[in-house]
């Protein structure tokens, strides 16, 4: 075992105690003068530096030896990097409290490139989900990385959008890399890795998603990116912490406006009033950041298929605003049966879309 990997594995050893906090870890590093030294000269004095629980955990794992630790890492297919490594993103070295090491699966590079964090509510609305998905896709198509937290709601939509755009996306976890949370996003995590993105975490590989992990994790979400986009958040939302981190790290903050009467719009709108950049599409963000916008092929106007008179009236009505079944019936004066038939026909042409609440909207306006 060479010197380098001994040092790295010693750091992994220090990182694998779920009960060893960031500050306690640095007390140990300072006391012994490095991770490798700490591993070699670990003694009961560390109990006063680390606390009882963490001390016992570290002592127990130390008994395994570094070889076993390396084998365990290999078994869960996790890679490790520390500051200065080829795979450790340099951009993270600029932030206060940078991580000592990162566990990751997938691909990471020293040059993380242009990246945008998309964060928002876990209890999202359809509007927020659709917009987050769309903007993530467009950013991805422009070669921008999309970073988020693999949480439910907006995070999931952002990752999915980025995947659809064909670019790389990175998920920063609040749990261990071998313990993906929420479990329903395991498959999404696998897709992110398979597509050339990465799933990263600074916590012990089997760490549970403790509530206090998430605010701490959020500094990495914003820290990896030059800009953070806020999509839907209620007051007291955890995403506010990410925005706070972005500001203290000197990164740009953008917000997506929402309907003024929706609870999820309160925070983004306040951010906008306080000077965040207004984003309605990826182009807004790219231009504000001074990044090049890939010339899009001129959107060819979708030729309307031949419509009957009634179909035309229905489509025109929906082009003005989304309407529900009753409103359509009142406006067009059609029987239930006739309207049902028309709706199916237009849906099959891909001209309209059905929304919950039996509401319909035109797809090309």
């Amino acid at each position: 075992m060479d010197k380098n990997s001994r040092n790295l594995l010693s750091q992994v050893w220090l990182a694998s105690s779920p009960n060893l906090g960031y500050k306690a870890k640095h007390r140990i590093l300072d006391h012994y003068g490095g991770a490798e030294q700490a591993f070699d000269r670990f003694d009961p004095h560390a109990r006063s530096l680390a606390g009882d629980k963490a001390y016992q955990e570290l002592a127990k794992i130390r008994l395994m030896g570094l070889d076993k630790i390396a084998a365990a890492l290999k078994r869960i297919e996790a890679s490790v990097c520390v500051a200065g490594d080829e795979s450790f993103p340099d951009i993270l070295r600029d932030i206060p409290d940078p991580p000592d090491l990162l566990f990751y699966q997938g691909v990471l590079n020293r040059d993380f490139g242009r990246a945008v964090a998309i964060v928002g509510s876990r209890r999202e609305t359809r509007y927020g989900r659709e917009q987050a998905h769309k903007i993530a896709r467009e950013l991805s198509e422009n070669g921008i990385r999309v970073v988020s937290g693999l949480a439910r709601g907006i995070d999931t939509a952002a990752h999915l959008g980025a995947l659809e755009g064909g670019g790389h996306t990175v998920a920063v976890l609040g749990s261990g890399i071998n313990n993906i949370y929420p479990t329903e996003n395991k498959e999404l995590a696998a897709r992110i890795i398979a597509s050339g993105g990465a799933v990263i975490s600074e916590f012990a590989p089997n760490a549970d998603p403790f509530a206090f992990h998430f605010p701490f994790r959020n500094r990495l979400v914003s820290g990896l990116c030059q800009a953070t986009l806020l999509v839907e958040a209620r007051e007291k939302s955890g995403t506010l912490i990410t925005v706070g981190h972005a500001l203290s790290q000197g990164r740009e903050v953008f917000a997506l406006p929402g309907p003024v009467d929706a609870p999820g719009s309160a925070v983004p709108h306040r951010m906008l009033r306080e000077g965040a950049g207004l984003v309605t599409c990826a182009r807004d963000l790219l231009e504000d950041m001074g990044w090049t916008v890939r010339e899009q092929a001129e959107q060819t106007q979708f030729p309307l298929p031949d419509l009957t008179n009634d179909q035309r009236r229905l489509y025109d009505a929906l082009c003005v605003e989304p309407l529900d079944f009753n409103e359509l019936q009142a406006q067009l004066d059609l029987s239930t049966q006739e309207l049902n038939v028309l709706l199916t026909t237009l849906e099959m042409h891909g001209l309209i879309q059905t929304l919950p609440g039996r509401t319909f909207k035109a797809t090309h306006n």
């Binding site: 876990r122 209890r123 999202e124 609305t125 359809r126 989900r129 659709e130 998905h133 439910r152 709601g153 939509a157 999915l160 659809e164 929420p182 329903e184 009467d261 929706a262 609870p263 529900d324 079944f325 009753n326 019936q329 239930t336 049966q337 049902n340 038939v341 709706l343 199916t344 026909t345 849906e347 099959m348 879309q353 059905t354 929304l355 919950p356 609440g357 039996r358 509401t359």
Partner: protein, 516 residues
Amino acid sequence: MLARTKCYALIGIHGEPVTVEAYVSSASLFQFNIVGLPDAAVKESRDRVGAALKNSGFTMPVGRTVVNLSPADLRKEGTAFDLPIAITIILASRQMQAPPLDDCVLIGELALDGRLRPVSGALSMVISAHERGIRKVVLPRDNAAEVAVVSGMEVYPAGSLYEVTQHLSGKLPIPAQAQKSYEECLAQTRFDIDLSQVRGQQLPRRALEIAAAGGHNLLLIGVPGSGKTMLARCLPGLLPEMNQEEAFETTRIHSAAGVLKPGAGLITQRPFRTPHHSASLASLIGGGLNARPGEVSLAHNGVLFLDEMPEYPRSVLEALRQPLEDGVITVSRVKAHTQYLSRIMLVASMNPCPCGYYGSKTRHCRCGSHEIKRYLDRISGPLLDRIDLQVEVDAVPVEDIVREGEQESSAQVRSRVRMARQMQLKRFQGSGLRCNAQLTGKNMEDKAQLTSDARTLLQNAVRRYSLSMRAYTRLIKVARTIADLQGEATVELPAMAEAIQFRMIDGKYWGEQNSP
């Protein structure tokens, strides 16, 4: 001396003939026994009969009295044996002279003062007696109405034990109750709610009509207060009238379960049962010590309405699958083993999400997409599989509620439903099927008669909305019913196009499980 009368015991919804024998011997101390596997209620009839005899001007014979209920190995339960036991004792102790009672059945519970009280299951007993060639029955006045339709049966409604003895001895015969034709009963049917009372709701109205026409199970999804329950309540009035056979089946089950109101008569209105979601499995399916019919059987030939379906325990919902499929349920218990009919239409209602306001235009939904998904997942695929029509119900805007104007009545819709049902009966002649809802993969293709246009549209829809195989067959069934309502022999394009509007939980848009 010995005497004998006839009576019926109730086993499930069937009557079994029971002969009541009494033997009185005066050369002994006083003793009174009932033998022949009586249950507690029958055993207690000893005391009721004793008091009723005394209070009707008779005496309990001195000496030893044995009453045997034959066949002695059949378990007997209920209180219907009071009257035959009392009459047999009176005959055996020669307190009354009467011609032999071989052609007459006695049914009734005695009060201590000698009055007759109604019993449950009277209709089943009388029908069974009629099938065995018996033509006379004496029973409590409150039971008379429900058996008035059994043709060829002379029914003598009596108020008290004394009246019965007067009748049997020929001193003061009770006039036989006038027969009622089934049509007369039918004419008295009153529905407590009519479709004309429902304002707006054009789409759910249409769904109700299609459901009624094809016998399809129906799921109503809507925000709280949108009128799901009221719409469901209209359904019995939209279904074609029950024929006499169906009315008998339903009344027998209700009579056996003891839920028939005294004096209510034959049930001619299709039942509408609304078990609460805290209902136990046994109360829904049937069970208990004596294998009583459950709510699915009480709803036989009618509608079983499950309000807030996701609130029902999973086990209860899963247990519904078999009776929904087979139309019959076998309830097995230690003491009894009975088959009950359960040909029902299932109507269920639910909110679109845990908070109830997903998709509402007036209030914001507070649920995340994973919460909505988890809520919808409470209804299993196999059960959803059996619900052909799904329709969203929205709250009616105030302008619609106050708007004057005639809404279509239940009777108007019912006449169209009746036509559609007739088309189906004609098509299914000889196949044992009754309505489109019963079509299965095997006979679907040749019975449904899809035009090639309709088939192409269906295939496109399956691809576009990534529909499952079960959604595919459901669409065919619903389209077939829509065509029947139009009076069309084949399923044309518009019928299929309309059917496609009644899919919801499967397909992409509801809950949006996949991606935006």
